[in-house]
């Protein structure tokens, strides 16, 4: 994982009980990887009074209880943690789980496949192949724990839909920009819907409703409808665990 190049962060007040952290850098890829690295470090050394964080693609919202700490203390801790280089090398390596997610890509499960193919100048089959060849990394968990991933390799970034779809089925595989996300529950989306997995992504009856976290690696494996049905797919679990 890339670490922050210079350790420089911008800290912006956001109301009376939050601050917003960003990494000022011209390169988008560095902004994004540096904020992920900062987030991991911040959570590992969480200052007193910090309640929670919310990851954006290029930002980290830090929420605190202003009666337990002061905004100035939080800002100070943020800058200190950003600049601080741990003496004994990289931080504790976390376990990366790997997921192979079977996906049915057809007209019904992927209503935006054709338009995405036209937009990036490929045949729909080539779009499916490109998705299957891409190695995705979970950058953050979005609304309702949806895994939001980086790593889509297509000739160009995919636009969002001008008119959001109102009712997308759970398990829908959706793309935008160079990102992919899986829809956990029925609902609206502005992302382009290209396929669907038969697995349950989020199961609220489990003590931990998901099996994945940020930093985990995902590949999509095209399957036919019959193959998908034969899988008897339940809750999504990782294929293997590597350190």
């Amino acid at each position: 994982m890339t670490t922050a190049p210079s350790g420089d962060v911008a800290v912006e007040p956001f109301g009376d009980s939050a601050v917003m952290v960003t990494v000022p850098h011209a390169d988008q890829a560095i902004r994004r990887s540096a904020i992920v690295a900062f987030r991991d470090r911040f959570l590992e050394h969480r200052p007193h009074g910090v309640l929670d964080v919310v990851s954006g693609l290029e930002s980290l919202l830090i929420e605190f209880d202003p009666l337990q700490t002061a905004p100035q203390h939080v800002e100070y801790a943020v800058r200190l943690l950003a600049r601080w280089a741990p003496a004994d090398g990289p931080e504790q390596p976390r376990t990366v789980r790997e997921f192979a997610v079977p996906v049915v890509f057809d007209d019904e499960t992927g209503p935006d496949l054709v338009s995405v193919a036209e937009e990036v100048g490929l045949h729909p089959a080539e779009v499916i192949e490109a998705i299957a060849k891409s190695t995705f990394t979970i950058a953050l968990l979005g609304a309702a724990m949806a895994p939001m991933m980086d790593g889509l390799v297509l000739p160009r970034a995919v636009r969002r839909r001008a008119e959001p779809r109102t009712d997308v089925a759970p398990g829908a595989i959706m793309i935008a920009g160079d990102n992919a996300i899986i829809q956990p529950f029925p609902g609206p989306t502005g992302w382009r819907v290209v396929g669907r997995t038969p697995h349950t992504i989020v199961d609220i009856s489990r003590p931990d409703p998901v099996s994945f976290g940020t930093g985990d690696v995902v590949r999509f494996v095209p399957v036919t409808r019959d193959e998908a049905a034969a899988l008897d797919a339940g809750f999504l679990l990782p294929v293997e665990v590597s350190v």
Binding site: P13, V53, L67
Partner: protein, 333 residues
């Protein structure tokens, strides 16, 4: 410990289990959620000797009614409401002893706040998701309490040997918020986005806004004047605090609530002070709102004053209950 059944003989438009929300789940995409009016929820629990974050009932509109099958210690807080026990009027924002078989009935005054909270001494049997009983509609966790359902309660309460129609048991320093008839005033701390829209500070300060029926737990949508930024710069998805004032492309102002998600593309001109969030949580369609700009330090000072009042209540209750031989958990703060 005894198990008591509460039979819900009436429910409002939306009656759910509720608490102060999820902790440390926003980093995994699950909003904190929880009681829209956190102050009322905290005080309801304290009044019955519960920890602040105990599971309680949140009721929106209509008539909430329940009958316990043993004596219970109960309190109703939130928006102004007519509360009766066995048909006799009783006080809200006060501990009540409800005898077995008597019906508690709560009828809110919808014109002056939308939500009432009902806490009962003990632990309500409710499902949890990620450590909290608060509903999360997006994840299919409804937590609805339906009419006719029996909810179980584990309680240590065995009665004060008092009748509910006798004078109030205690004189407690209860911080009851004002739910004025006129427009409610909400303090707002300006945020970075205000610089993208010249003149918006003055527009928001001078105008009166009205909550529209399109509002929900994700946000209050307000009718009133707004301005838009000149540029249409793409803003990358980012997290926002509860209470953020967002200006969408349409001519309206949105105040984001406890179930907001990431946002992108819309400027955020300020964030309502934490102290004012409980009031915003009570605002329903038709409610008029005015905004007052404040600075971060003043906002935190007002929050500290409110917290001091709640702490004073917490200690007074611990003493009063101990005096009648009823132990409550020691205050954690």
């Amino acid at each position: 410990m005894t198990t008591v059944a509460l039979e819900f003989t009436g429910t409002g438009w939306t009656t759910t289990f509720q608490d102060l929300g999820r902790r440390d789940t926003e980093r995994r995409g699950v909003p904190t959620g929880g009681a829209a009016d956190q102050h009322s929820a905290v005080v309801a629990n304290l009044l019955v000797g519960n920890p602040r974050g105990a599971t309680l009932i949140e009721n929106l509109g209509g008539e909430l009614a329940l009958v316990p099958d043993a004596d219970v210690l109960l309190a109703v807080t939130g928006a102004p409401a007519r509360v009766t026990v066995g048909g006799a009027p009783v006080e809200s924002w006060s501990p009540l002893v409800v005898p077995a078989g008597q019906e508690v009935r709560v009828v809110g005054d919808a014109g002056r706040g939308t939500r009432t909270y009902l806490a009962v001494n003990g632990t309500l049997a409710a499902k949890t998701l990620l450590g909290s009983a608060a509903p999360d509609a997006r994840m299919g966790f409804g937590q609805l309490v339906t009419r006719g359902s029996r909810v179980l309660l584990e309680t240590e309460f065995r009665g004060f040997r008092r009748r509910f129609f006798e004078p109030p048991l205690f004189r407690l320093p209860v911080p009851v918020p004002r739910f004025d008839e006129g427009p409610w005033v909400v303090d707002v701390v300006a945020s970075h986005g205000i610089h993208a829209i010249p003149g918006i500070r003055e527009v928001i300060e001078e105008a009166e806004y009205v909550v529209t029926p399109r509002s929900n737990h994700v946000g209050l949508r307000l009718d009133g004047p707004v301005l838009h930024p000149d540029t249409d710069a793409e803003i990358v998805s980012h997290g926002v605090p509860v209470g953020a004032l967002q200006i969408p492309h349409a001519d309206e102002l949105i105040v984001l609530g406890r179930y907001r998600s990431l946002t992108a593309g819309y400027p955020i001109v300020g964030v309502a002070s934490r102290d004012c969030l409980p009031l915003l949580g009570q605002a329903g369609p038709g409610q008029r709102l005015r905004f007052r700009w404040t600075d971060r330090d003043s906002a935190i000072r007002r929050l500290a004053r409110r917290e001091a009042e709640v702490c004073a209540l917490e200690h007074a209750i611990a003493e009063a209950f101990a005096a009648v031989g009823f132990e409550t958990p020691l205050p954690q703060h």
